[in-house]
């Protein structure tokens, strides 16, 4: 049982200085075990700051972060131990690769956990399997494999630690459409098999709509919406008004409605849209 609870969490950069900047304020919410949560928001809405507080990289300037009911900042000597429960993949994680071989690099995290050599190797294999890293790549240098492979190797390095909660900050940034889909499929696959909590920060509403079960929409450092995907996209109009992207499908349906077609707009999958549009035309015909 592993939940992550935030209680009135806020973070201010350069606190007390003339150029202080409030990045996050008054966030209270719970990430339940086994959920797949998407976080979206504008650049500068506090997403990255928020997730860096989830594993204690940043200390909230107000409020508390609880893992399984324990405040992670309660006892500094246990911070590192608690950090292991939340695996964080930062933006452009390939820049953290440093070892001689991909295998050794993936093993860095598990080794820091103090596991036995056998256990480390089995975890490396497992993580490589999830990320679809072929065996022969494991013994190459992480500096002369392709960009997409580097990205997957870096994510494998966090996955191999078997965190209770996996947090990924824009794992698809800078990848081509195929690379994006590969990574997201890997993450979904992991989530479905392991039943672990996954938090995915993304710019793309389409990706969130397709993969996540719940969405946290952030705006100006606070929570704008936090609910099941279908519930949140019922507010598509409000989302669009604040300048946030909404799923392409919802966007099209909203536009159709504005043009006078009476279609259901709480839909964010292509198949659902196809259904409601054909339904509309059938209704028109029978009139």
């Amino acid at each position: 049982m592993s939940t992550l609870r935030l209680d009135n969490v806020g973070f201010t950069y350069q606190k007390g200085m003339p150029d202080e900047k409030v990045a996050v304020s008054g966030v209270s919410l719970t990430f339940d075990e086994g959920d797949f949560i998407g976080i979206i928001g504008h650049t500068g809405s506090g997403k990255s700051t928020l997730i860096q507080m989830l594993n204690g990289l940043l200390r909230p300037t107000t409020g508390h972060v609880y893992i399984d009911g324990d405040d992670i900042w309660d006892d500094r000597s246990k911070l590192r131990e608690k950090r292991f429960k939340v695996g964080l993949v930062l933006q452009y994680p390939e820049y953290q690769l440093f070892e001689e071989t991909v295998r050794k690099d993936i093993a860095f995290g598990p080794r820091n956990l103090g596991l036995s050599e056998e256990e480390i190797q089995s975890r490396v294999e497992e993580a490589a399997h999830y990320l679809r890293i072929p065996e022969k790549l494991l013994d190459r240098s992480p500096f002369d494999i392709s960009g997409g492979e580097k990205r997957r190797a870096a994510i494998a390095g966090v996955l191999a630690m078997r965190p209770e909660v996996l947090v990924l900050d824009e794992p698809t940034a800078g990848l081509d459409p195929r690379g994006r889909r590969d990574i997201l499929d890997v993450i979904r696959n992991y989530h479905e098999n392991e039943k672990k909590t996954v938090i995915l920060v993304s710019h793309s509403m389409d990706d969130v709509a397709r993969y996540a079960g719940k969405v946290l929409v952030m705006n100006a450092g606070g929570v704008f919406f936090y609910d099941r995907v279908d519930e949140v996209f019922k507010h598509a109009l409000e989302l669009r008004e604040t300048g946030l992207n909404i799923p392409t499908v919802t966007d099209i349906l909203l536009t159709l409605r504005e043009r006078g077609m009476d279609v259901d707009t709480d839909i964010y999958t292509p198949s659902g849209a196809a259904e409601t549009i054909t339904g509309y035309f059938r209704g028109e015909e029978s009139k």
Partner: protein, 266 residues
């Protein structure tokens, strides 16, 4: 990490900001040399008043000056106290094996004032000049040395690039540290050797990214036909204006006055 600010520039539009950076640089050097020519406390105080009035001209709050002075206070105190004890002369008071002399105290005060002026003077230069201004000033001042084969243009370009990338690399270090900490890297505990070893996961990605950036930058510069700085023109050509000449005359006059005042009194 981000607290390290190198030559923090304060944007402004004061008389000093508008001076030619070459003038600013040379006058700062003149001021520093003057500090070492002064021999009495009254002269030192005049030098301090001079630099403080320059601060007033720029409207830099005294708080900023104190902040930049803070780190050197222990050093100043330490050397002053040492000097106080080890300079011979007329004894003022003594305890145990140490004796404090009048000359010792005088020298200690001189030294503290000198260090404070030194720091205030050089900080004023970095407060009012952007790194780019400073490098172009240096480049132009060293230009005569190009005749004897010193690659002045290239050196200036190297300096500009180095200064430009300090904040970038600091930011990069922060990010890499965060990533490795997330993977359980232990950076804060252990003995010396363990700590040095713990730096590998940070230093290697940092070097790799520095080289990558260098490659990209070199390519970008070549794409824009950079082929050494020779004959390169600049966006803001430096020109000595009348105000610069006036500033030089006024400042040199004041410095001369301070130096000469010592001669007259003594």
């Amino acid at each position: 990490m981000r607290d390290i600010t190198l030559g923090q520039y304060i944007n402004g539009d004061s008389v000093i900001h508008r001076l030619d950076p070459r003038v600013r640089l040379i006058l700062t050097l003149v001021y520093i040399i003057m500090l070492f020519l002064l021999k009495s406390i009254p002269q030192m105080i005049m030098a301090l008043v001079l630099i403080l009035s320059a601060y007033a001209l720029v409207r830099i709050p005294m708080k900023m000056l104190f902040k930049s002075l803070k780190p050197i206070i222990p050093i100043v105190l330490f050397t002053s106290v040492l000097n106080m004890f080890f300079i011979g002369g007329d004894e003022v008071f003594s305890f145990w094996k140490f004796s404090v002399t009048r000359q010792g105290i005088y020298y200690a005060v001189m030294l503290s004032l000198r260090v404070i002026c030194l720091l205030a003077g050089s900080s004023l230069l970095t407060y009012t000049s952007t790194p780019i201004e400073l490098t172009s000033a240096l480049e132009l001042l060293f230009m005569p040395l190009a005749k004897i084969g010193l690659p002045v243009n290239d050196l200036a370009m190297m300096m500009t690039i180095a200064l430009r990338f300090i904040p970038t690399l600091l930011e990069e270090t922060d990010k890499i540290m965060a990533a490795q900490k997330s993977r359980g890297a232990n950076l804060d505990t252990g003995n010396f050797i363990e700590r040095v070893r713990a730096l590998t996961p940070i230093l290697i990605p940092l070097f790799v990214s520095a080289f990558r950036r260098a490659d990209e930058l070199a390519l970008a510069m070549e794409c824009r036909c950079y082929n050494g700085g020779e004959g390169r023109t600049r966006l803001n050509a430096l020109k000595i204006k009348r105000s610069d000449i006036i500033a030089v005359i006024v400042f040199l006059g004041l410095c001369a006055l301070i130096i000469l005042s010592g001669r007259i009194v003594l």
